[in-house]
Amino acid sequence: MAEVRIENLVKVFPNGTRAVNDVSLAAPDGEFLVLLGPSGCGKTTTLRCVAGLERQTSGDIYIGERVVNDLPPGERDIAFVFQFYALYPHLSAYDNIAFPLRAVGVAADEIDRRVMRVAETLRIKHVLRKRPRSMSSGEQQRVALGRAVIRRPQVFLMDEPLTNLDAALRSDMRVELKHLQRELGVTTLYVTHDQTEAMTMGERIAVMQLGDLQQVGTPLEVYQYPATLFVASFIGDPPMNLIPVTLEGDALQGASGHLSLALAPDVAGAIRQKQSGPGLVLGVRAEDITLSGGDEGDMRGEVTTREPLGDQALYSVGLDGQFIQITTAPTTRFGVGDAISLSIDRSRMRVFDAATERALV
C-alpha cells in the first residue's frame, strides 16, 4: 500500500498530440481517486503512464517513495484491471479466485489464506465450492471481483472496468467495489467517463479535459463548487444550467430582461473585482431553482417540456433561446406552455468569468 504521486506529467505522442499537459496529482495511501473526463481528455494516458505501459515525455511518477519512471510495469507492484472478466465455468469459485495466484506460483497455504480473506470481505465463503452456474448473479459478480483483487499490489489501476456491464449489474458492482476497496485499503486510481461512477465511488475526483487537470476535490466539492465551466457542465445529472449574464449595478442581468437577479453588495463587489471582462455566466443547478405560477421570482419563462422521471419531474423552460432545466417533486403539475416564474437559491449558485471560464464566486 502506497501513495501515488504524479508531478508535472506531460505526454506528447509522436503525431504531436499533447495528451497530458503538465498534470500534478497525488493519491494518498489507501485513497480511491477517480480520473474523470470525456474521451480524449488524457485520463487513460495518465493511468497508462503510472502503469508503465506508456513512457511519459516528461515529469515524474512516484509509487510510495520510489520514482518509477524507468521501471517496467512488472516491477511497479501494481495491478491493472481493465474489466471484470467472466468466470471460468468449469472452475469452482475458490479456483476462480485462486487462479491469478496459481499462475505466478504462490504456495498453496498462502493461496488458501488469501482466498479465505477475500471471500470473507466479499461475503462469499459459502459459495467457494460452487461452480458459477449454481451461484446467483450477485455471487458471481463478487467472485469476479475477488479474482480481480486477489493479488495484493501497492496500487490498483482500473480503466473503466464496469463499462460493458448492463445497468443493474453496474450499479451493484459499483457498491461492492467501493466497499471492497475500503476494506482492502489499497490505493486505487480509477478511470471513467461516467460522472455517476465518479461521484458515487471516488473519495476524490480529478476532472480532466483536453490533457489539462481542471479540478480535484471530493464529489460534493466538484458538484457544489465547480472551478470551471467545463466541470460545471460535466458533473451532475442533469448538468448545471449555465446562463450568460452581465453585472449591472449589483444585479445579474440576462440578455433580454427576462432574468434579473439582485446580489448582495459584497458578492457583486467580489465579482466586479475579479472579472476579466463584462461577460459572465451564471451557474445554477436544476434542484436549486423553484417554480411558481405567480410573477414573483428572478426569471420568467414558459414551460417547454415536462419529463416525468418517476421519483422526480424534470422541467425545461425556454429563456432567451436556451433551455433551463429544473427538477421538482414528481407531484408538481405545470403544463407545457404555462407561464411560470423561477426563483434561484442564491446560496447555491456560481458565477463564472465567460472569458477565462473560471469560477469567480
Partner: protein
C-alpha cells in the same frame, strides 16, 4: 399521420422467438416508447412495422389497414437510427433537402421547407456546414430533418440517442419530445434506457425476451409495475426486493430469514391473500420510499450503512439489513458516517407485493 396497430405479431429467427405474440396499438399522433434490455425484440418489432422484416404470424396495420402487401418504401414511414448516415460531402442544407429533390418542387419551395424544418430543429444557423463540422447532436438533428421533410405518416426511431454523451442525450430527450408535439405526428420509439422511456413517452410498452410485460403511462408504469421485471427495470435507482412471508394470523410480513416482521396494511394484506403461496412473497420498496434515521424508531428495522453514494442532488445509501442490501435515496443534506448504525422504515403505503412463483404484482 397514422395510427399503428400490431396484432399478435410473432417473428422467429430459426429457433429463436424474437417477438412473441405482441399486440400493441399506437394512436395517431401518439409518442409510444418500447423499452427493454438487449434481446427484448424491440428492433425486430420496429423493423416489422417498417416492412424490413416479414412477421411469421400476426400483422401490422396503419390506420386499420393491413400493410402486409405494402413495400417498405410505400409504407411512407421515416426510420431514424443511432447511426445517422449523412452524406459527408453535402452541407446540412443539402442533406435535409435530399428527399425533396426527387419531388417536383421549385428551388424556392425546397429552400422554404428546409429552413422551416431547420428552425424547428434549431439548426438553421448551421445549414452551410458539412457533417464533419457538426457535433454529434447536430448531426442527429440533420438526420431527423432529412426524415421530417418527407412528411411521413409516422416516425420509427431505433435508439437514436445512444451514441451521444449523456449531457447531450438529456438535452435531446426534451428536444425530441418538443419536436414530436410540434410535428403532431406519430412517434414509435425504441430504447434500452428507462429514463428516455419515462421522460418522452405518452405511453410506455415494456418488452423483455420478445414478450410484452406492461403498457401504460409513465406514471402508471412507475407507480404500479405489473410484475417483477417491470419493477426492476423501471426507475433510476432499482427497487428493493425483499423475500418475505405473509402470516395470516398476525397480519404481518416476516422476512425469509426471520430477521424482521412488519405489520401489513390492508392493501398489502389483500394482495398477499391473492397469492397461491403467501409464504413466498417479495416485498418491493422504491429507494425513495425508505426512511433512514440515526435514532431508534418505533417499529423500525435495524441496519448498518454498507456503502454511501453521494450524487450531488441526492445520496444513495446502501444499507445492510441482515443478509439483505437495501438502497435508500435521501436528500443531499442527509449525511451519515461510514458504517453508521441506522433505523430503517419502509413507507408501506407505497410498497408493492409480488408473487415469487408467478412474479406478478399482487398489489
Amino acid at each position: 399521420m397514422s395510427s399503428i396497430t400490431l396484432q399478435n405479431l410473432t417473428k422467429r429467427f430459426g429457433a429463436t422467438v424474437a417477438v412473441n405474440d405482441l399486440s400493441l396499438h399506437i394512436d395517431d399522433r401518439e409518442f409510444v416508447v418500447v423499452v427493454g434490455p438487449t434481446g427484448a425484440g424491440k428492433t425486430t418489432t420496429l423493423r416489422c412495422v417498417a416492412g424490413l422484416e416479414k412477421p411469421d404470424d400476426g400483422m401490422v396495420l396503419f390506420d386499420g389497414q393491413d400493410v402486409r402487401s405494402v413495400s417498405p418504401a410505400e409504407r411512407d414511414v421515416a426510420f431514424v437510427f443511432q447511426n445517422y448516415a449523412l452524406y459527408p460531402r453535402k452541407t446540412a442544407f443539402e442533406n435535409i433537402a435530399f428527399p425533396l429533390q426527387a419531388r417536383n418542387l421549385s428551388a424556392a419551395e425546397i429552400k422554404a421547407e428546409v429552413e422551416r424544418t431547420a428552425r424547428m430543429l434549431r439548426i438553421h444557423h448551421l445549414l452551410d456546414r458539412r457533417p464533419a463540422q457538426l457535433s454529434g447532436g447536430e448531426q442527429q438533428r440533420v438526420a431527423l430533418g432529412r426524415a421530417m421533410v418527407r412528411r411521413p405518416r409516422a416516425f420509427l426511431m431505433d435508439e437514436p440517442l445512444t451514441n451521444l454523451d449523456f449531457q447531450l442525450r438529456a438535452q435531446m430527450r426534451s428536444e425530441l419530445k418538443r419536436i414530436q408535439r410540434e410535428l403532431d405526428n406519430t412517434f414509435f420509439y425504441v430504447t434500452n434506457d428507462q429514463v428516455e422511456a419515462l421522460s418522452m413517452g405518452d405511453r410506455i410498452a415494456v418488452l423483455n425476451a420478445g414478450t410484452l410485460h406492461q403498457v401504460g403511462t409513465p406514471q402508471e408504469i412507475y407507480e404500479h409495475p405489473a410484475d417483477l421485471f417491470v419493477a426492476a427495470f423501471i426507475g433510476s435507482i432499482r427497487m428493493n426486493f425483499l423475500r418475505c412471508a405473509f402470516i395470516a394470523d398476525t397480519g404481518a410480513l416476516v422476512s425469509a430469514d426471520g430477521g424482521w416482521s412488519l405489520p401489513a396494511p390492508p392493501r398489502l394484506r389483500e394482495g398477499a391473500q391473492k397469492s397461491k403461496d403467501p409464504g413466498q412473497l417479495i416485498l418491493g420498496v422504491r429507494p425513495e420510499d425508505v426512511l433512514l434515521s440515526t435514532e431508534a424508531g418505533n417499529g423500525a428495522l435495524e441496519g448498518q450503512v454498507y456503502v454511501a453514494e453521494p450524487l450531488g442532488n441526492h445520496n444513495v445509501y446502501n444499507v445492510r439489513i441482515g443478509p439483505a442490501l437495501v438502497r435508500v435515496k435521501t436528500p443531499a443534506t442527509f449525511m451519515l458516517d461510514a458504517e453508521a448504525r441506522v433505523s430503517v422504515q419502509f413507507n408501506m403505503a407505497r410498497a408493492h407485493l409480488f408473487d415469487s412463483a408467478t412474479e406478478q404484482a399482487l398489489t
